[in-house]
């Protein structure tokens, strides 16, 4: 309770302080420094107007300078030094050399690359799909809210939720992890789905629905034949609870699922607004030109919102490059799931190696900057 009150107080002071600053500084500028009175009234007004933007920008610029610009240079400096008993000793690029010699670093870099490809692609694709599918239906807005909701959950909170989904109990015990619960249904291999097993049970209607379900499922499987064949012939350990987060390499994808789940809502909201902005008559013209719904979507709608898609994609890319919380909370970077940000954390705060920690921070900055610049450039182009 005490903490909640403190938090509330902080918010009130923070917001009130901001409002107070703008209000008070504005008054001081207009009444005291350049009063719109006397002989120089006109000149004072125009001078005040020249100063005002800087006055209002000052808190943001000061905070950014203090908490963003300065740390960048400090980190760059630290990455060229070694901390020996509290003393900074300049060592040149020694820290980088040491870091490049570590397997864990290259693992982080490789994982980051996989994250970088998979998460933005999947989030944008799912977001676009959701935006298009919810566009014209009555309960589309409800569906959108549900898809958007994960955005409100912190990365750590989401990690906890998904840890429960991936949870594993001893064989024989009830599985509380959703994924294992489903997995165990495939006991006799992929073909013995829950539908077939339970076909004998239930009333006529339920049987009918199951049959329809099987038909639909069979159709889907037919469409994805190659995939299904691969899955069916592979020797997978069906029927045994799996430690999902400990399967090397693939556990990365289980972690990525969390971020995809979080970012799809963001992509959907932005892309949904963009889709609404596509002129209706270009779509009607395409209908008259004989385009089918897929052609309309891919050849008329998507190209028109390409700019927005790029902005969404790069924005998520930046989030992905900094991904830390999810890995920290779910695997701690063990079992080959290390990523750069967590590698940095391990070096900086666990191993207390400032030099290498700062060096890895510089690598992240180096990777993020070009994407950030491109993103801002694209976003500005979109706004015009």
């Amino acid at each position: 309770m005490d903490q909640a009150l403190m938090a509330l107080l902080t918010i009130v002071i923070g917001v009130g302080g901001c409002v107070g600053y703008f209000w008070a500084s504005n008054i001081v500028l207009d009444k005291v420094i350049f009063p719109a009175r006397g002989l120089e009234a006109g000149r004072n007004i125009s001078r005040a107007n020249m100063v005002r933007p800087w006055l209002f920008l000052f808190p943001a610029l000061a905070a950014l300078g203090l908490y963003l610009a300065y740390p960048v240079f400090a980190t760059a400096w630290l990455s060229l030094n070694r901390n020996e008993a509290g003393e900074l000793v300049f060592v040149g690029f020694e820290n980088y050399r040491q870091m490049f010699g570590e397997d864990k670093f290259w693992e982080s870099l490789r994982n980051n690359m996989v994250w970088l490809i998979v998460v933005p692609a999947m989030s944008t694709a799912f977001g676009l799909l959701a935006a298009q599918l919810t566009d014209r239906i009555k309960w589309g807005n409800i569906a959108k809210s549900l898809i958007f909701m994960p955005m409100a959950i912190s990365f750590v909170g989401a990690s906890v939720i998904w840890k429960l989904i991936y949870d594993t109990r001893e064989e024989g015990q009830a599985q509380i992890g959703l994924l294992n619960a489903i997995w165990l249904q495939f006991e006799g291999g992929i073909w013995s789905t829950v539908l077939v097993q339970d076909l004998a049970r239930g009333g006529a209607w339920i049987k009918l629905f199951r049959l329809i379900g099987i038909a639909v499922g069979a159709g889907l499987i037919y469409v994805a034949l190659s995939w299904a064949l691969g899955a069916a012939t592979a020797e997978l350990p069906y029927g045994k609870p799996q430690f999902w987060l400990q399967i090397p390499f693939w556990n990365n994808f289980f972690l990525m699922a969390v971020l995809i789940w979080l970012q799809t809502g963001f992509a959907m909201v932005i892309l949904s607004a963009a889709l609404r902005g596509v002129p209706e008559d270009t779509i009607e013209a395409a209908i008259i030109d004989g385009a089918n719904p897929f052609q309309i979507f891919f050849k008329v709608k998507v190209p028109q919102i390409m700019g927005t898609i790029v902005v969404v994609w790069t924005t998520i890319t930046i989030t992905v490059l900094k991904v830390f919380d999810i890995v920290r909370a779910m695997t701690g970077g063990q079992q080959e799931t290390q990523v750069l940000a967590n590698y940095m954390y391990d070096k900086l705060f666990v191993a207390v190696d400032w030099g290498v920690g700062s060096a890895s921070a510089m690598i992240i900055l180096l990777l993020v900057t070009p994407i950030l610049v491109w993103n801002v450039w694209n976003a500005r182009k979109e706004m015009r």
Binding site: P279, E284, A285, I287, I288, D289, G290, V300, Q304
Partner: protein, 361 residues
């Protein structure tokens, strides 16, 4: 070849019927113009023909084939939108060839069709540009080109010129007329607000009002023999003057005493039984002539507008009656504040009872 037949077609949005009892026969090679006040359903009717709006009642056929449930692309129609509706991400060439690509035509066929259309519309230098690098008139020509390449049976235009400035509008209007001339076997339906476009382009005009068809006819028919007061006032600018009166003489010519005191003679015949009937006479502003003798209308000129070849006279209102407007040849600003007596050729005096023309009884 395309004969279009609309039989008892109607359109309802939920409970509200915005169009009903639409019966229309359109023959191959005609250029039909839909006119009517804003919101009367011109665009809706056009879009129903295109297949963009569902037809909620009646039958629509092209060459005898029922089209109600045929998708737009298979109706053999092409549409030019008011806002051009060009695909902004495609070059002019891609815009024009999109439909053909969808239809899986060969590249040689596509190139031939696009090049031909571009030549007709003088778009060849712009083929590789994006729409945003074109002027309004060029964009409109691309939109027209996009329909030409598909070689449709029916062309649909929804106010295609309304986004262009006045000079360009005239030029493009003439281009459309020439285009029609060059393709005598294509049928065109054209929606417009603009009277001049309607009068100059149309082989027949369809006047829509109040959810139905008010009159169908050639521009001259509508101008000279309007079926009802609505069409009489809608066609022509300024509108036809309507004045109330009573039939006092019948026969091959009809004599009317007007409530404003004047006497009018109309070439429309009436029977003896019509004597005493309350009617409205209609005289177009341009049909008024000055007179010294018996006048249809006498009044004081409030405002004059000299347009060069003609002068418009706006008369002082008399009581409840609508303002009378006359159009006299020449420049006559000196008539301001003067009392003027007007009459008209009996052949040009229309007669209406209960909103309908007595000519069509």
């Amino acid at each position: 070849m395309a004969d279009l037949v609309l039989k008892n077609v109607e359109k309802a949005y939920g409970e509200v019927k915005v169009l009903k009892n639409i019966n229309l026969d359109i023959k191959t090679g005609e250029l039909i113009v839909f006119v009517g006040p804003s919101g009367c359903g011109k665009s809706t009717l056009l879009r129903m023909i295109a297949g963009l709006e569902r037809i909620t009642g009646g039958d629509f056929t092209i060459d005898g084939v029922r089209m109600n449930d045929v998708p737009p692309a298979q109706r053999g129609i092409a549409m030019v939108f008011q806002s051009y509706a060009l695909y902004p991400h495609m070059t002019v060439r891609d815009n024009m060839s999109f439909a053909l690509k969808i239809a899986k035509k060969s590249q040689a066929e596509i190139d031939a069709a696009v090049d031909k259309a571009a030549r007709i519309l003088q778009l060849t230098p712009y083929l590789d540009r994006l729409p945003k690098a074109l002027s309004g008139g060029q964009r409109q020509r691309v939109a027209i080109g996009r329909s030409i390449v598909r070689d449709p049976k029916v062309y649909l235009f929804d106010e295609p010129l309304s986004n262009l400035d006045a000079a360009l509008r005239v030029a493009t209007r003439i281009e459309i007329a020439q285009l029609k001339e060059a393709m005598p076997n294509s049928t065109m339906i054209y929606v417009t607000h603009d009277q001049v476009e309607a009068m100059t382009l149309a082989s027949r005009i369809v006047v829509l009002a109040g959810g139905g068809i008010s009159q169908v006819g050639s521009p001259l028919e509508l101008y000279e023999r309007p079926e009802n007061e609505f069409v009489a006032q809608f066609i022509g600018s300024p509108s036809m003057n309507l004045m109330t009166g009573e039939v006092v003489g019948t026969g091959s010519e009809t004599l009317i005493r007007l409530d404003s005191g004047g006497m009018a003679k109309s070439a429309i015949p009436t029977q003896v039984s019509d004597k005493g009937m309350k009617v409205k006479i209609g005289v177009r502003p341009e049909d008024f002539v000055e007179t010294e003798g018996e006048a249809i209308f006498t009044g004081e000129v409030e405002i004059t507008e000299a347009l060069g070849e003609v002068t418009l006279l706006y008369f002082k209102r008399q009581g409840e009656a609508a303002q009378v407007v006359a159009k006299l040849p020449g420049i006559r600003p000196e008539l301001r504040r003067q009392s003027v007596k007007l009459t008209a050729d009996p052949k040009k005096v229309h007669l209406f009872a209960n909103g309908k023309s007595l000519l069509y009884r």
